[in-house]
């Protein structure tokens, strides 16, 4: 993306590319098929999709930073990289629990709407995936944070768009056997097909 180099320094360009790559080209839901559970579960209404997006964005960004810090400050000095997965899951669980408490206070309706999916962010493979991919790719702190943000943006984008489509599908005259989850899964497949158009855009 030569043009982007003209817009800012290389450092900034790289960070932007990381965001675009994580959000669109290697979209976590539609290309890497991570985080499908909340994608199918919380996409029947736009407002709950929005809430889930905010919660996931927060958790993803927070947990990728925390995971980075854990790794550099604790796991590497202790030479305990084998604990990575375990440590990350604990960190993510804490972040999710924190979000849940905060959400319960600030928006009880959203808290109830997100219901089971909120604690499930803990086991949202996208979250753990981001943390692990960050360490695999030896991202710096800023890169980790931006990768998390990019993944979250991509997740939010497809979740909200998908919720919009599903709200329309609820009114459509869908053949009886395909109603509900089946047409949603098919549509998600077509959405993944459309996102394949981004393939090859950024090679990172």
């Amino acid at each position: 993306m030569a043009a982007l180099h003209l817009l800012g320094g290389d450092q900034l360009t790289d960070l932007l590319l990381i965001i675009v790559s994580a959000a669109l080209v290697n979209n976590f839901v539609l290309i890497q098929f991570l985080g499908l559970c909340p994608f199918m579960g919380v996409s029947s209404r736009i407002d709950s999709a929005l809430g889930m997006s905010f919660a996931t964005t927060f958790v993803l960004t927070l947990s990728s930073v925390v995971a980075y810090l854990l790794q550099t400050l604790l796991l590497i000095p202790l030479d305990a990289m084998w604990l990575r997965t375990l440590a990350f899951i604990v960190a993510i669980a804490v972040a999710v629990q924190f979000t849940e408490l905060a959400l319960k206070k600030t928006s009880p309706l959203l808290h109830s709407v997100l219901g089971i999916y909120l604690p499930l962010i803990t086991t949202n493979c996208a979250v753990l995936g981001v943390a692990l991919l960050n360490t695999n790719r030896a991202h710096t702190l800023a890169e980790s944070a931006f990768y998390g943000i990019g993944a979250a943006l991509g997740f939010s984008l497809v979740l909200i768009l998908f919720a919009g489509v599903r709200e329309r599908l609820q009114l459509a005259d869908i053949p009886a056997p395909f109603r509900g989850a089946s047409i949603a899964l098919i549509t998600a497949g077509f959405m993944a097909l459309a996102f394949m158009g981004f393939t090859g855009m950024i090679r990172l």
Binding site: Q170, L171, A172, D173
Partner: protein, 489 residues
Amino acid sequence: MADYQIRRCERQLEGGIHPETQKALSTTDSCIFVGDPKRLVFPIHFSGGGPGEALVAVADIVSQGTPIIKCQSGITHVASRAGKVIDIIDHEIAHPAATKSASIIIEPSGLEDQNYLDPLVWPFDADTLRNRAIEAGILGLGGAGFPSFKKWSEGMQTLIINGAECQPYLTTDDTLMRIDTHSMIRGASMLSQSLDIKTIIIGIEDNKPEVLEAIESALKESCSDCFFDVVLLDTKYPSGSERHLVWLTLGIEVPTGSHAVESGVIVHNPGTLAALSRAIDGKPITDRIVTLTGEALAAPQNIVVPIGAPISHLIEATDTNPESLTSITIGGPMMGYSVTNFTAGITKTTNCLLAREVDIPPESPCIRCGACATVCPVRLQPQQMVFALKGGSLDRAIHEGLTDCIECAACNAVCPSHIPLAEWFRLGRFEARDKANDQRLAAKARERFEARNMRLKRISLEKEAKRAVRQAKTADALEKARKARKESA
């Protein structure tokens, strides 16, 4: 000579359509009176002005002008001819509900027996005029049948005479404004002066040059103190919708959910004002002009008929055999409704009987082409609303603005899939009304439930307190008694 000006409207209706007007079909220079029918039918609850009660009993003899129905809104309907009440039964009515409803049947005697009110003498105040409108049964004669006096609140700035008559085929107002111009202007002036309104706007579409001429000459003869602003509108449907006329002539957008009156504007049909003028002279509404038109009629024309005359009687007046028609549309091709039973009597709101063969092609699925949105005069998205309604979601349709629909049916006219959009919206609006009513009842029930719980709680607390006092007293007494016993022992 009254002060007046004639101007062309500077605003353009957004959306709207140009249907073939077909007005020439029924336009005539004069208006004939037809003979009295054999019987007159007055629905008790559907004559306009809300549900009513009969003021007469079977076998009563009534004069022309005797009150026979009193509505909830106060409006009184009178017998349009002298005669005898022969029955009060469930009878077919000319109404989109297409049901039978309790009606008073009167057999005209043919006698010139009139029972009119006393003429009002100027000056009179607004309350006198309101009472007169109630007694004379003045309703919006344009089709909606809203009790006119309810619009006459204080602080109004403008009276608009809605002479647009934008629906195709209709020439009722056209005829009235040409042959009864003076009554209309007099009624408007009297109303304006009693309400302290200075400006009267007359809105007419530019396809009625004869009306303009008639109004101009009438205004020259009039000695009204009001300023008359005659506005020529482009011929486009639905420029005669109340909120659109207000916007076209004054530039005021009547906010959603409110009426023109709340924006300081009264809008009346020319016929209503002419009827008001006669009511001031003591004559309640007994007759009205009806346009009989359509390609299926032998002699389309405008006629003056007594209220309550059966539809078949009107059809016969055009040299057409009623049995040759399967159905007739009441109220014009756009917003009218179909009636198949011709024994129903016309009401004050029946402005047009339209007989024509229409071949509506079968409906096909909506392709979201947006033609309806292009012509929607309130800028709704009919395609989205009908998608929601057909999908079973009233809430979504309401969110899209269903309750703002004026049911003008311009969308119906342009839909390439021939979807009866306006029918869906009418149904949706009725359902929305019921739903709002349910919610209101639920809110009331919640309030009462909570109030009762509070009361029960308070009562039980009071009882508790009383019992405590009582117990304390009893304990006290016992203690005293015990002490006394001890002492005595």
